[in-house]
Point group: C2
Chain length 671, copies 2
Amino acid sequence: MAPTQDALVVFMPSGKRGRFAIGTPVLQAARKLGVDIDSVCGGRGICGRCQVLVAEGEFMKLGVKSEASHLTAFGEVERRYAERKGLAEGRRLSCSTRVQGDVVIDVPPDSQVHKQVVRKRAEMRAIELDPVVTLHYVEVAEPNMHDPSGDLQRLEQALASQWDLKGLDTDLRVIQHLQKALRQGNWTATVAVHQKKQITAVWPGFHDRAFGLAVDIGSTTIAGHLCDLATGEVVASSGMMNPQIRFGEDLMSRVSYVMMNPGGDVEMTKAVRTALNELAENVAKEAGIEKTNILEVTFVGNPIMHHLLLGIDPTELGGAPFALATDGPITIWASEIDLQVHPNARIFVLPCIAGHVGADTAGVILSESPHMSAEMTLIVDVGTNAEIVLGNRDRLLAASSPTGPAFEGAQISGGQRAAPGAIERVRIDPETLEPRFKVIGSDKWSNEPGFAEDTAQTGVTGICGSGIIEALAEMYLAGIINQDGVIDGAMAARSPRIQAEGRTFSYLLREGEPTIRITQNDVRAIQLAKAALYAGARLLMDKLGIDKPERITLAGAFGSHIDVKYAMILGMIPDCDLAKVTSAGNAAGTGARIALLNLKSRDEIARVVKQVEKVETAVEPMFQQHFVEAMAIPHKTASHENLSKVVTLPPPKEVAAGAEGEARRARRRRG
Amino acid sequence: MAPTQDALVVFMPSGKRGRFAIGTPVLQAARKLGVDIDSVCGGRGICGRCQVLVAEGEFMKLGVKSEASHLTAFGEVERRYAERKGLAEGRRLSCSTRVQGDVVIDVPPDSQVHKQVVRKRAEMRAIELDPVVTLHYVEVAEPNMHDPSGDLQRLEQALASQWDLKGLDTDLRVIQHLQKALRQGNWTATVAVHQKKQITAVWPGFHDRAFGLAVDIGSTTIAGHLCDLATGEVVASSGMMNPQIRFGEDLMSRVSYVMMNPGGDVEMTKAVRTALNELAENVAKEAGIEKTNILEVTFVGNPIMHHLLLGIDPTELGGAPFALATDGPITIWASEIDLQVHPNARIFVLPCIAGHVGADTAGVILSESPHMSAEMTLIVDVGTNAEIVLGNRDRLLAASSPTGPAFEGAQISGGQRAAPGAIERVRIDPETLEPRFKVIGSDKWSNEPGFAEDTAQTGVTGICGSGIIEALAEMYLAGIINQDGVIDGAMAARSPRIQAEGRTFSYLLREGEPTIRITQNDVRAIQLAKAALYAGARLLMDKLGIDKPERITLAGAFGSHIDVKYAMILGMIPDCDLAKVTSAGNAAGTGARIALLNLKSRDEIARVVKQVEKVETAVEPMFQQHFVEAMAIPHKTASHENLSKVVTLPPPKEVAAGAEGEARRARRRRG
């Protein structure tokens, strides 16, 4: 056909353009040009995924005068689709609309396969959809005695000719149910193809429900997000306690349980898998879908959770040299871990990095992407162990530091987990030394009207990690504790809240039932934890030859509750421009979600994890010295250039009489 | 090093040669030259697989004066191996022997990986070993806190550096047990690698037991051969009844069972899998090995057995258009079909060809290799259906013909399965019309002394397929039945064995308990069966434009019991040089064994099966006419050029009075 008879078609936003014969379906033109338009039904006007709009007007730059009338009129197929599912004003099904003249076509984001999923935090890179599982509607030839062939082979031919998918393998379970599906669908079926390589599911006729589940298995809680694989949207979320808690509160006590109880690993594996089935049940119910429509599940978790999920005895992780069974990513069937979603659903488990740095940290890296940034970024994920990642696109280091459970409220006299009733914010008047606080479940300060009513239900039950950090930082700013963490008994003269307890002092935060004090032991426990955290970060900074990071990200549930300023006052983290210190929330879970929605990210994280330089703090000679120096508040030697811009730090002082001996002992210990 | 200081090493029988520095281990020299020498231990003097001999003397053609002293003296490693496992005179471990001067090295067949497995029948191509599973002993680096890495990754590194095996995947079940295995083996292990791609098993330390099981699942019997994967030798064999018989004697009655009983397919799948576990148990016990050392299993079977094994409902195979679920080969885990061998053992199921032509026929093709021959070869595998393959390296056709169960003794008045007590050979004196016969379980003819003693235990219980074929052929040669299969009542005057039964006649083969007669109905049943078989072959000959095949192979248990001359007299098969008509025994089972031992054969059979032209006799218009003409004995129209050279066929005759009406009716039916 002569070029003059062809129409110019320009697709936006890609700007891809080409000339096509009058009568060419718009979707076909798009496919020829490699324009990203979605379709499950393959151009049969069933799925409605390929919607486009006409951009009307004279586009000088493009050299096109585009009119709605340059497409065929709204036809029968579109009318039927609109009746069934609705079609917004101006929207056309590109498969069922033909080019009649020059036209500019807008492909809205929801019609693109590789659309971007919006993330709440603006500074983060968007998640681009790159589907792991794709759905393909096919019309399959009926069997013919004159040219006999298997049903599977005719399905493969249909996928090759209608979708250009070739050389696929097929799960046995698909073959087992294929014949019924094809006949029920009257020789039409929808096929799920995993990684463009493997047929994992077949449904009769048209089917466009495909979901994925991203799961973060924490030692304490398990959190799952059910995502629509076509849109990337989270359609349901659910969290639950990790039932392994009954075998031990923290990781090491669970490993001990395995060591002391033969078969204990099997029990714990069973427990977590049962919980995961419950989780899948819950999210499916919440979203109103069948569990069998979950075709893909991704997991992150620390090394011990990772091993127990996969049925690997975690004993080796309980002692030096802390060898992982594997530090590679794992792709298996859901049935291999007894997960009752679609039996052929694939499980992708992100790789662990080292014996103490797990797949959760891999998820954090994927989410925060320090490996793609020029900025020297420090990421800390605080739990019983703190996982620490430092680096940028040139080098990336990871370590784990034994902070112990103090940040989670354990080993603290009035400590508790973050739960309604827990004190999470603390302010101390530097003049009167009087405190006020907020508890989880109420927005009000304790000295505001309505606080009592708000907390009547829960009570004030204790102090959680973020509360204790603020309490200590405020005590430091008010001079109640000095740079060495010693509660200054001399202050008892100024406030009845400073009270002697044997040879040391404590600060009365709240009178009542229960009475909540910050004792000298509490301060010590937090000092030890924060010194370990800081020392780990410092060790990685040494390795990279830097003095301070350009950006700090606090990951994890705890990280998202901390006020970063207080974390810096206390010296948990190195000095940094406070504007560049942020909380990332459950970044590990976000990493699981990225791996769920973006196929390329799986190779990416496997590659990055291989390149990460693993640092084992336990064998680093400098760790101990860094630890000792980091006991001071904020730090014995490090500069506080950025922090000093926003907070006036008190001058060093020696503590007075009552607690003197204790303070001296403390100094000796550190020397 | 200057070439003059190097030694010339020539390996026989390959003739590969090269110069190597003095001190080079012989195995290393062989590897450099690509000489095929086996090793599991990778050159550590443990496995003894790499044995060689020195060929001493002056080899003019090779330009080498080879002496035993041109290798290092028998050393410590060899001495230890010899003490442990024995080492024949002159044998050296090539891994532990170093080149000292020019030498000719003989690599005996048992040291070659790609050795040939001897087959009993000389005319068949040898099975070349091309291992699907290989074993590799490795020394694995211990974990190191200064450079943390997973145990699996260090195992992978060991396989890469010690065996040049890279980019392997690993079964989850291997990872689950990897850490214990490595520590038990003190950081040595033996790894099973499937198809050079996947780690499927790991044992602590050195392990060189790897076995495979080749199974032929027949409707009636299941036969399995346990093979040593290193030598290809059959180390144990076992046969058993197919327990599905309780759901129906023949294939169609089993499909009917499924149609009438929902879940019947599941029951039958369970039954056959249970039997297979018993079979695996039996052969393992017979060979004195653990079942978990079975790492590979191959299966052949007809389409219905194939589907039921794999858990596929066979209903579609019960009626037109007889669509297979798949006609591709299948590779799965043993655990996917509940087979309790090594859980990661791989199952390879040969491909089915068409709805009536199964993986058993694929096995027959692999065994008999018509696709590699210039000779136009006809292969028939006779059962309830006869599978027929015709062709050569240019074209290959396959069909199935509905012979019914007459050849198996069903529908025959005195018929029975081939079992002790069944008449299997029959001769009739053309003068006296007196018969003699042999029964299964005795070598004596019924008129020989000792026959009564031999058969006292079993009795004479009936007549099996090969017996009825000989009986009919002999009756025809003696003039008892004519070319139309009509028993000639006029012969009753010559012998009391010809007896009237209503309007037809029968031949009394044996008086006693039970009395065994060949009735007119029996003759008709066999005529129908043999006509179907012949017509199928004729149809394929038509398609290839040939008049007779150059070679005929009778496959299957029945085929190996038939005297091919009688089969030709009766007209079951086309005329052919009798010297080229042979029985192949259980060729399907041999095909399973080839697929077990030779990796390349799997691609080969998949490719051949795709290329085979499938002929569905039911829709071929000429089939009916061929069938009618083939009712005559040997055939109404075909020439018997070759047969006539060895047997004098009686002239055509019209039958006399008594059975006249019957004969006329028969003719009308056929017209």
